[in-house]
Amino acid sequence: MGGFHDDPLSWPSNLPFPPYIVADRGYPLLSWCITPFKMGPMGVPLSREEAWFNRKHSSTRMSVERGFGILKARFKEIGTTSSMKLNFLPTVVYCCCVIHNILLASKDRTLDQILIDCNLPPIDECDTTHRENEEAFQPPRPIGLVSEERALLEGQMAREDILDYLVRIQSGNQTRNTPRGLAE
């Protein structure tokens, strides 16, 4: 179930990288699914750029937290313990997501008003409201699958590309205005 028709890797050639989605550290790192940097094997701390990347990554990921927050605040049926039949509940959830999209598009209320109604932070403040300490999670090791190892490697390369790009942009801006993350 899901409206996924096209190959997500097809992308217009005027963009510098292939497009990707951001995910938290519970997800696999792929070339099109970027997760935050993790600490090294012996508790090696992250470098300053990597920590800065993680902060920006986390604030980007806030849009999905906000989306679920709005969804669950608006639809109490799935926000609280649902009383629906188990085999029918996925249809109900899907239906709620469709209505969520309709209501966002219809501009019944502006997004900020919805966020205030749902006790969620407005969009401008989301840079500072990311969760600092998430639950520590160790992903299961891939069991000798070459393709998974290669996907991980590709994901790491894509992540480094993005980090390089961000650092380059940030240092380019440094002459004009004060950067927020790297300056301290």
């Binding site: 899901g2 989605i21 990921r61 849009s63 999905v64 249809t91 999209n101 209501l103 996907a151």
Partner: protein, 248 residues
């Protein structure tokens, strides 16, 4: 006071054929219990008040009150009704008039938005409890089939807008979405094996919802249904999105 004397009551009762002349009785009474051999039945249609739906909600309530009930403006509601009318329109037969499309959608939205129990919805809308259950299934299926194209992966001009949205807010280049999982909590299933599957790490029972969201909080891809004990990454690898790109 007798129920049939009060205004805003719809009912069909054996002894009182003259009640059927009451202006607020909206049902069509071609068929009464004693026509089909139910001589001892007390009610064919139980007495219920139709005035909330037919008078208050659409005529008397102010736009703000309407918004509080259905969490949408009247304009949006009318558009939703027009979109769903071909899928939900009942047939006019000589038994009685079908339940209107507006009523079906109001019942569904009221249930979904407020999470109240079915008897309360049935009482509000002057319907039977099992009728409400049928309507919920019908409307939710109709919405997910006929309006499912509203959850779509960004392509073309929309892709450019989403990339620009992420770029302007957090300066992440070329990001087209953020993915995360969420639990939809359920009552514990009675079957022990099913219950063990749905028991998540917070020691409650749930099913999973994984969504990809763009920069304006629109859902662009949804996957629901796996039990709550499944891990996020395992759920991610079972989705169509992952299989289409990684599975070859």
């Amino acid at each position: 006071m007798d129920v049939a004397d009060s205004p805003h009551i719809t009912c069909a009762r054996r002894e009182s054929d003259e009640d059927l002349e009451h202006p607020h009785v909206k049902q069509v009474f071609d068929l009464l219990p004693w026509h089909i051999g139910l001589e001892n039945a007390r009610w064919y249609v139980k007495p219920r008040s139709t005035c909330w739906f037919e008078e208050y909600l659409f005529n008397i309530y102010t736009p703000d009150m309407f918004y509080d009930i259905l969490r949408m403006r009247r304009r949006t509601f009318d558009r939703l009704v027009n979109d769903l009318r071909p899928f939900l329109q009942g047939q006019h037969t000589h038994w009685r008039a079908p339940i209107g499309v507006e009523k079906k959608i109001v019942v569904t939205l009221f249930k979904l938005m407020h999470g109240v129990s079915i008897p309360l919805v049935a009482d509000k809308a002057a319907l039977g409890k099992s009728t409400v259950g049928q309507i919920l299934r019908q409307v939710c299926s109709a919405i997910s089939i006929s309006l499912g194209h509203l959850i779509a992966w960004p392509v073309g001009r929309r892709l450019t807008r989403v990339v620009a949205g992420f770029q302007s807010k957090q300066r992440f280049p070329n990001c087209i979405g953020a993915v995360d999982g969420s639990h939809i909590y359920i009552a514990a299933p009675s079957n022990t094996i099913v219950a063990a599957d749905h028991r998540n790490r917070n020691k409650s029972f749930s099913i999973l919802l994984q969504g990809v969201v763009d920069s304006k909080c629109y859902f662009t891809s949804i996957n629901t249904g796996p039990p709550g004990s499944l891990h996020d990454s395992a759920h991610f690898k079972s989705t169509e999105m992952y299989r289409k790109t990684e599975g070859g």
